[in-house]
Subunit: 311 residues, 2 copies
């Protein structure tokens, strides 16, 4: 089993009320693949520039991540800068430099096309479509996107929803796409727009799953010292999709369990600047965090009106 | 079993993006007692003015709510006006007229002092202390408060925390009281300040329980048509405390189950202006909603790395 994952590798500059980090390794695919690599193999497809070297590659060392699909182009790697508010729950983009991503077109090898799962991390929706055009029918396809594409490339995003099995959006993106303010309505509307399954990510407030048959809510781990929320959504996707790929051969791949795995990886991701923490995790601490998150919400049953009561 | 509940009965004027309601029945005690009355008997203690009459009393008709402690004073009933933002997740107070609450001092009868549970809904903390001074040791005491008292009567609020078994705060209030922005830290700090058990209410984002031994997260029901969030926190407290009083004779009163009952009553409360919906509920619909909320988060187990995996 393996995941073909396409997205961005970047240098991020991040300001939070507690500190600043300049030109650190980031990008949706970086966080995703490190998180997913704890459950399955990842074949990544992305482009970097001449400024991406051994130092950056070292962050992935020892992880089952295949770099055969990493294209090196003349010029600089994608760069993004963002600044968080005091609550760390909203941020402003300070700059976006596409650089080598401006001319990128993913071309998949035979091995990549055979991956059991395909994850399209946040990149231009035209590139996401180009990937879907090149693959046969994998077991699972999932897509993430961002506000910018919902605003500028709405039709391409809507078509994507209908081409994949699972859509991941932040709460803000779900509101923007649906035109509905209340998330339970937004979720229903996005299913009506053609999404088969939807997960709305709410950061520290957990994540909601919507399908025509089911609603599920997964809490976030109550992290006491959030250092940098960047990449939390991508790490969530990595834990989720990584687990689903790992479980793809089982009779009923447990989606609820997969979301808890996503929440666990996201919670580790926010404990440090850069994806460093994600790379260094071991199975024992991941399993403990998963059990802690699951344990947060379990209620065996609610015994009602056993002793008479009134009303 | 019964709850002695002290708090406000009010006329509310409420503006939401979807409509306005003028001088409707409201107040923390109104929402609390109607919600709690589905699980146990409520003896309320409050004051109203000459403008409170049969029409308002009719809203409580048929519920096991004892009005012996309702004082009628010369003048007007407490009045509050508020306006919600577009997301219905924050509001501005437009006016507060204390009226008959200005001179109120609760005096408890012998029957009231014997209640198995005491709930102090949001009123001036000096009045909450006056109630605690008059009671013997009930099985459970719980208190709610608001930003205004945390800002103006901080010492009295801090002393209250230490006098009761369970403290309920909104997320905003927990941040204000603790000086901590991140809720997991805020919760820990409020325990350090002397609270024995704390519930932080996050509206549509659920509620978090903190004790020295435990954390529990209870989701909110994903209501698709929120009409008016006023009183949701009080209805939550009513379901929670009502259930705990109902269960007080059991060996292990199930706090997690009680929070789900609180979330269920809160979700009904927001479906209409005024507490009308809460008064008309039947046990079948309450039980169904409780099971729906419980079902939102249940995950039997997370099978991990059964088939090899990597990392």
């Amino acid at each position: 089993m393996s995941i073909l994952a396409v997205g961005s590798i970047a240098f991020d500059t991040i300001k939070t009320p507690f500190g600043t980090a300049e030109s650190i390794l980031g990008g949706s695919l970086t966080y995703f693949s490190l998180a997913a690599s704890h459950f399955t193999d990842v074949k990544l497809v992305a482009v970097v520039g001449e400024d991406f070297g051994e130092e950056q590659l070292a962050a992935f060392a020892g992880r089952p991540i295949d770099f055969a699909g990493l294209e090196r182009a003349a010029g600089k790697t994608f760069r993004w800068g963002g600044e968080y508010n005091l609550n760390l729950n909203s941020r402003e983009t300070l700059f976006t430099e596409l650089n080598v991503f401006g001319d990128f077109h993913p071309r998949l090898s035979a091995a990549q096309r055979e991956a059991s799962t395909v994850f399209l991390a946040n990149i231009h929706p035209a590139l996401q479509h180009e990937v879907l055009d090149q693959i046969d029918r994998p077991r699972l396809t999932a897509v993430d996107t961002m506000n910018l594409w919902i605003e500028r490339e709405r039709d391409a995003v809507l078509e994507l929803l209908r081409r994949v099995d699972l859509v991941l959006l932040s709460d803000e993106e779900a509101r923007l796409l649906s035109g509905e303010i209340q998330l339970p309505r937004a979720g229903r509307k996005i299913l009506e727009m053609g999404a088969r399954q939807l997960i709305v990510k709410k950061g520290e407030n957990g994540a909601l799953f919507f399908s025509p048959q089911e609603r599920f809510f997964c809490p976030a781990h109550p992290v006491e010292d959030v250092v940098d929320p960047t990449g939390a959504g991508d790490a969530f996707a990595g834990g989720l999709i990584g687990y689903l790929d790992h479980a793809a051969s089982w009779e009923n791949p447990p989606l609820r369990a997969a979301m808890i795995c996503g929440a666990a990886l996201a919670s580790f991701g926010v404990e440090d600047f850069s994806p460093r923490r994600l790379a260094l995790l071991n199975r024992r601490e991941i399993a403990e965090r998963i059990e802690a998150i699951r344990g947060l919400t379990q209620v065996p049953r609610v015994p009602l009106w056993q002793t008479g009561g009134t009303g």
